[in-house]
Each structure stands twice: as structure tokens, then as C-alpha cells.
């Protein structure tokens, strides 16, 4: 069975998604998400013993391209929608004490 949705899980998912949610919203989402999960849980009633696991919705494989350079955007075009730019760089609020993976 699917794990049930409680307030802690909603808060945790909100943090992972960088969403700020109020306590009222947490309670509301517990109800809403639980109903969605219950609905999806209907799938568990289907017998899948003899069904291959599906890893992709499209029945297509091996869409590949040759390793040939194509023109990139100019730096001006690349930065055209940037809220802030400086000397060809995107400018973002200072990143502190975190690292990429």
C-alpha cells in the first residue's frame, strides 16, 4: 500500500520543492494529496504478475544524434531574458554554503 500522507510529509515535500506553505495550507494539502493518492492506489488492485515493468510511456527507443557541432546562441541572446546579467554572466542572489552534486 502507498504510504499515507501526513503533515510532516507535506512540509518535507514543500521544502524539497522550495515552496513556502502556511500551516493552513499544510492541512488542506494533506486532505487533497491523500485523496489523490487513494485514487492512484486503485492501480494496486490490478494484477500485474505477468506484465513487464514500463520504464517509458513511448514505444520508441534510440533517438540519437551525430556528434556534430551546431551553432549556439550568442551570449546576448542567451542573456536576453535574464533578470540580471553582468559581463556575459547570469547574475543570481549570492549562493552560500551549499554545494552542487
Amino acid at each position: 500500500m502507498t504510504k499515507s500522507i501526513d503533515a510532516d510529509m507535506v512540509r518535507r515535500v514543500a521544502i524539497l520543492a522550495r515552496l513556502r506553505v502556511s500551516e493552513d495550507e499544510v492541512q488542506r494539502y494533506v486532505g487533497q494529496l491523500s485523496r489523490i493518492f487513494d485514487y492512484v492506489d486503485l492501480l494496486n488492485e490490478v494484477n500485474t504478475d505477468n506484465v513487464e515493468p514500463l520504464t517509458h510511456a513511448l514505444p520508441v527507443t534510440n533517438v540519437l544524434r551525430e556528434d556534430v557541432v551546431r551553432p549556439s546562441l550568442s551570449s546576448e541572446q542567451a542573456l536576453a531574458n535574464a533578470p540580471q546579467a553582468d559581463r556575459g554572466f547570469f547574475v543570481v542572489p549570492k549562493v552560500l554554503d551549499q554545494e552542487s552534486s
Partner: protein, 494 residues
Amino acid sequence: MSAKQILKTRIIVGMEIHVQLRTQTKMFCGCGLSFDAPPNSHVCPVCLGHPGTLPVINKQALRFAILAGLAMNCRIASYTKWDRKNYFYPDLPKNYQVSQYDLPICGEGHFDLPSETDPQTIRIRRAHLEEDAGKNIHDTGAHTLVDLNRAGTPLLEIVTEPDIHSAADAYAFCAELHRLVTYIGISDANMQMGQMRFEPNVNVEITHREGLSKTPIAEIKNLNSFRSVKNAIDYEAQRQIAAWEANPGYELGQAANENRGWNDDRGVTEFQRTKEAAHDYRYLPDPDLVPVTISETMMKEIRTDLPELPIARRKRFVSDLQLSSKDAETIVDHRATADLFEDAIEAGGPTDMLSKQMINIWLSLANDRQTDIANLGVSAAGIAELAGITDRGDINKSAAKQIAEAMLSDKQSPRELAKHLGLVQVKDTAATQAWVQQAIDNNAPAVQDVLSNPKKAKAAVGFLRGQVMRISGGQADPKLVGELIEKLLTPKPD
């Protein structure tokens, strides 16, 4: 005496290695790769993560990954897929990195680390393709600058089992893996340019009076030299042992695993974060990228690109060509050098002299010019001929070096150059004796030392020999000169 008496410790290390693939374009778009181009000049809507764009897999990156897998004896997946690893960071424009989670392109394999005393097998857990992130530049006041040229660069991440048990073995493994990826041509693996990055996972198994303990695992992030891999592991193991002695709760499973960074200046690892609040990357299959199936035919075809690997080649050079293991290692280190060496043997060069000249002449000339032997523009036939005439005694060793240098700019054969430069060795005893006599006449103090100062005699003979070579313009046969000096300066019995 400490309450926790340690009887024995054993380091446990598993490696994660990122290798940048030597493709022309990025993993999922046609942008070219660049190291120091102006910021955001090699980007397009795909690698900028604009909505509505679709990534397409680079075929060459796929081939390189399979080639690497074959070289590491990995099981190659017949079916492999792409997953999104979700996290937020400004250098990751889509807010996810395309990677491979549960069906990586390369599965279990193994890497045999040779050693005369202690050969080891390092098991490979997996190797998968992924895209690199961009670069954040932190050194300005209130902001962070982002350059996305690197975003989307194809990487192969190789993960080993924790089969390494010393810092020296970790160094050897990383160096051997570096040689492997350059040999099979999947990466330039230039470490200054970050094209190969190492992340050791380190902990220690401690045998003590009360039994066996293990320390929590530390992952040391982003090392870019073999030396820092070795030093960081050495430091980290000692740090963990000391922490275990000092803290009752410092045990695997009780205290948190952590990420640490290596501070090369101070020679210490520094705490970054615990893995207690483990990042939940919420991997999910990428709906924009369809899976890849790898057929037997494709695998066979790629297998034909697999050259003889460095370890096997070294072994063969020792067993079949009778090279010392040190010389074999030096020559095999770069594929171009080893290829040229074998071509020169094929062209008729004497193996022993060739191996000496490869190392003492050709590699040293290449190193002086900070290039590869292959780029010196000298043919295998020329290299073979030079070794041949040196071996026969037509020229002496120092003349060989001069001729080699001349060969870099002069297309004449070594034989012609020897004549041209007056370096053909004179084997005529009378002529040589005249040179020796001249050296003796001009250097009375040295002669005196040879005759009557046993402490300085050897050095004085060497000095005189050098004088003869100089007088002869390098044409004298050093062996004959030595014999004549000895003959002329042996005190005659009264």
C-alpha cells in the same frame, strides 16, 4: 593507556570518478565544448533549460561509455534509460540533472590493479552517463555569477565497490584508470581542466580489545590530482581513528556520514555537511528522453575499437620484449609513445637500444617541448635507424642525442645527419690514440691524479675521457678511449 586499545586498523575506500568525455558536442544538444571561452557563449535553449525544448542523446557519448564499460569488464546494459535527479542550484538551469538511476549503461565489472607484490582486483559497481552542471563564480560581493558553458557536458561517472584498502592503492588505481580512459580515447582527462575528478568514500575498520568497529563514511568531494587523492585519504583515515578514540558514539550507523572537502594548502579535510538530512533527489524517469537499447551487433562493432589496454601491453613488453618493468611502464604510459616504439621495432630497430632511446632521447625531447612524442614529427623508420646505427657503434650515445635533435627540423636520415654533422664514430685506434695523447699532454694535473692519487683517480679518468670526446668533436668511441687511457696511464713496472 587508552580505554579503547586499538589492535589493528584497515582503511576502506570506494571511489566515484567523473570522466569528461572527448566529444565535440554536449550530451543532449549540439553546442560545442569549451574550457575558457567567454561566459555563456556555448549555450542554446536546450542546455539553458528553456521550457519546451527537447534533448537528444549524443551517439558518440554513448559509444564512449560502452567502450569504457568494455575496458572495465562491465556488463553492458541491453536496455538503458535516463532519469532526472532533482535539486536546486543556480548552475543547474533545469533544476534537475539528467543522469541514469536504476538502469545504468554499464553494470558490474572489475579492474585488475597489477603489482609485483600485491595485485588487486577492484570491482566496478556501475558506470553511467550524465550531464555536467555549469559554473558558479562566487567571488563578487552580493551576487553569484553563473556561466552555463559547461552545463550539459557529457560525463561518465564510474563507481567502484569499497575494495581499496590503502591511500597508495587509491593513488595507483586512479592513475591506472586515468591511463585507461586516455588510452581508449574516451577522454583527454586533463586534470587541471577538471576533466577527471575523484571522490573517495573513506572509513576505517578498527579491531580493538572489545571487538570490531567501523567509523562513519566520509565522502571527500572533487579531488583533481592523484596526489590529493592519496593525501586526503591518509589524512581522513587518521582523523577518523582519532575521532573514534575520542568519541564513544563515533560509529558507523550511529554518527552521521558526511561530505568533506580537501584543503590542499593546509593538508586537511574540512567538514561540509552531514548526510543525515540526506538529499532526496526524487529521481524520476525523464519523459523527454527515450530509452536506448544496445544490440549485440553494436557492442561487437564498438569492441573492435578497443585497443590493447595499458596493463596488458606492459605485461607483454616485459614478457615478450624483455623490457624492465620500469621501462615498460614509462613507454606504455602514453599510447602514442608505445605505438611509435612498436612501429620502430617493426621497422627493424633493435628493441633494447630503442627502448633506451625512447626514454632517454625521444621522451626527454618531447618533455622539453611540452608535447607528445607523436607530435615531434619524427617517423618510426627514422627512430629505428637511429637506434640501429647507435647499436652498431657507428655513432656513440651522445652523438645519437644530437642527431635526434637535428631530426626534429631536418628530414635527412639519421645516417646522413651523422655524416653531415661529423658524428660518425671513429674506430681507428691510431687516430683515437692521438686524441688521447693530446688530452694527456694538455692536462697534467689530471694525469697526476690518475697516476698517484687513488682517491681522485676515477674522477680524473672521467675528466680525461670527456676531454678526448671534446677534442674528437664527439667522434671518438668512448669504449676505445677508456681502454687507451688505461693503457697509456698504467704505471710501467720499473
